[in-house]
Point group: D2
Chain length 287, copies 4
């Protein structure tokens, strides 16, 4: 078992020789590949790869690996990243009134399921709204927002993201639409969760609409945020069965269960470097 | 175990005393209730009930039961039906080019899973299009349809429904939109199946659209047909998990599996008198 | 909408007239039935019923309802209970080291999903083992247990159950096998959760065994406790998909998710009077 | 899009350089990797890989690819296979009385979902037992079996497997236990399907046992056959939800649905070279 484990992600326009180049570089730097997944999208012509490998740190080092990979990838105009698995992703959690997703993420973080560092919890409600959650060991920021103060609030939010070196922003039922500008600054590193139905419903009170239509399944979708809320590249979805006995309130309750489950999976996969943006879609390498 | 089993379905505007009236009538006619389910919709104020009961035919008879129930239901302006479970529903299957749902329904019928009589198979493709299916023991009608002949074809279809005393028409991937007139004649007794996605997609080539959007689940919906295709009251839905590796062709393949499963369930529940129309929704009493 | 809502559960040896008797009594006491489900087990010959009904408390009262039902049920040797829905079940939670089920039940209780009163949390670990959970508003009892003190510990536990008028004891990953005597005292009011696999595995370290066997699904079962642990009547089960990439540790992690979900459902259904003991099985009336 | 596509599967004791060797060989032979998945089992120390790649047949050929790979794999004591995707697997289907799995496999084969050639259908029931299936275009062999003739029958079966160059034998509800000898001859190329429950049940009439125990889920397992029936390495499993209303007959009916679905997936993955034996487990690379 190697002492130091790295996750390499890389993507470029597909052409012969990419895997040979990467695997040879890793081999020459003393690495042993533990897990590798690759996907070539026949439509976009893009290549996506994720390789987990270990080195013996007493004989080899990270800088050599990075150097070898850099050389190997030169001909490919490669977009790549190399992360020591011990360097945990830095994650900021944004929340509004409903805290079921926040509570679930915190629980999974405390038990070690989510290997991340929490840089801040940001809410547009004061801290005592979350009195039953144990938050005292976490930096909490109450950033109220009104139509008038939204621009200023987003500026403070962005400052906080920068000063805390946050890698990922999670909208854990944060009921504010990010401005196109802020969304643009967070491309590929801001995850949102929302309800989903078959068929989809536009407009307000979706659970009421779903109820009125008598749907038999309700669902949730975790996706990257883009300028258009609820329309970004999908990371994960799941559903739960309902019946004619379920009132709109029951749908909301069952929806909470799906939302927290789906969001936790999306966050987990993102911080483990399993998710790639691929145009309007994602590539997700399974656990 | 009683020798003769009946299924009673009944619905009316909810008010006290309905269940007492029905159960007393059944008791007085010598019946023993085997299964009973009831639902009161707090929104529409409607009551829905389904009771399965048996009688000893050597001592009691059906006409007495019907008479007692008729008397009991008089004050309630009740819509009700009583069916000897041995009187199987008469079902017509409509199909176009894709026969996965037809093949599945026929298999389930042959094995006794679907306790129904098939009155006809109607297709807008000739019989030899379904050469690998064993159809020779079933009345097959090839009713071609063009924009010009649609009205005439629907007239012949309706004739066939009437002359064969068909109770239920199943659109088993029948790729023709029924006219509003025909749909209106078949309210509550015509079931359609179509694909469903989270979120929903409008327009042509939905599997391609779902693929372009990178959805992680695809689904199917069985519903009663109304004037507007794909918009009738939903009977059943289900989904299957997909990944970024699935091409549009794979989605279509996986969609077939869900479509046939969902349609078979909806047909089964309908012919077992488990499904009630409730405005734009259904009430489905579970098995 | 009636001002006072009751849940009636009743079961006896099946024979004609039960439903007529109950529904007539409710009608005569001024009640309006809102939901009714019934099941006759053809094997055991037992009848099981659950009726939800409302009365207008300004015109009728509970004592009249109980009196009418008592009279109606006299001929049937009926086992029945009547609960005002506002009288919440009193629930005690037992836990050991792993608190994922406890945390989940508490969260659902705080959000109102589980309409119960918590009489006590009992653990065989000290309170500071659960430091990240907000427990200060709940009575916590640390009852350590060793082979020598087990009898004494169970006596204190039973005392606590009695003095707190606890209706239901939930073993939320409580890693102690109850003595046959204690289990016997709690028949039908003590729920346990444990992992389940296809096929089942006997003995220690089941997740390791499941991993060694390469199962593709892992599951959890919530059941009533009997003298034999893990063998009581099943209330609910569910599974999650796994792959060859999952280590035993991953199985444990995924197992936690299923365990808490399945236990929460079982508790919810029990406190809503939906679960009946039926020999070695249960009858569960769906929501 | 390359004109000729190959599937390479390879496994050996894990050590650095395997992927580099394979990918370099493919690159040098003019191949372009389309899909690659790899798994290193930290427990057994084994490496498993599957690579799909294309070549331009006007410029390169298969023999060069095979030669390059052979050279590259020499140092690794590699077990590998290279298949032109156009060379379909040759599959024999064995069946007894219940033909739901056979019917389903045949339907999927006719629609092109299962890209295989059927070498024979072998049954221990005469052909007219399957009268409703369209079998006339397929070689059908009625090989009756009794305890006395079992050895002889298996000899004829093995002859048939050899003379038809069958790659895979599918026990599609074939209710005969293969002798240890025959099972030994078919290691890794004979797939069986059987029911599964949580918890597992030993002995006869498992659906009755599951019913008596009140399980809430029933399942099916597809696995490779070993000397011990129902105990071989698992390829796929799935479950379906049941309730207290389901009789043993209903369980059997619902079981059929799961069995055919699970078996079809296992066969599909096997003929697409996605399944590897890994001791008592399998590695299954997802679609």
């Amino acid at each position: 078992m190697p002492g130091q484990v790295f996750v390499l992600t890389f993507s470029c326009i597909d052409r012969p020789g990419i895997v040979a180049a990467a695997s040879t570089a890793i081999f020459e730097a003393g690495g042993n590949i533990l897990d590798a997944q690759q996907f070539d999208d026949p439509e976009t012509g893009m290549f996506f790869g994720r390789v987990v490998f270990g080195i013996d740190p007493s004989r080899h080092d990270e800088s050599l690996v990075a150097e070898k990979l850099g050389q190997a990838f030169l001909p490919f105009d490669m977009k790549w990243s190399l992360r020591d698995r011990g360097r945990r992703r830095r994650v900021m959690l944004l929340v509004s009134k409903f805290d079921h997703c926040l509570a679930d993420l915190l629980y999974r973080w405390r038990t070690g399921e989510l290997a991340m560092d929490i840089t801040a919890i940001v809410a547009n409600y004061p801290q005592d709204s979350f009195g039953h959650l144990h938050l005292s060991d976490l930096p909490f920021h109450y950033l109220a927002v009104t139509p008038e103060t939204k621009a200023e609030q987003e500026r403070r939010l962005l400052d906080l993201i920068d000063t805390t070196s946050t890698d990922l922003v999670v909208l854990a039922r944060y009921m504010q639409i990010l401005s196109a500008e802020l969304a643009g600054r967070l491309v590929g590193r801001c995850i949102n969760i929302h309800h989903s139905f078959l068929p989809g419903f536009k407009g307000a009170k979706p659970y009421q609409q779903a109820h009125a239509r008598g749907v038999k399944l309700i669902g949730a979708t975790a996706h990257y945020v883009t300028g258009t809320l609820d329309e970004g590249p999908i990371i994960e979805q799941d559903v739960e069965r309902i019946s004619h006995r379920d009132t709109p309130e029951e749908l909301v309750r069952k929806g909470r269960d799906i939302e927290r489950r789906v969001l936790a999976r999306a966050v987990r996969w993102h911080i483990d470097d399993r998710v790639f943006l691929n145009g309007s879609k994602t590539v997700v390498f399974p656990e």
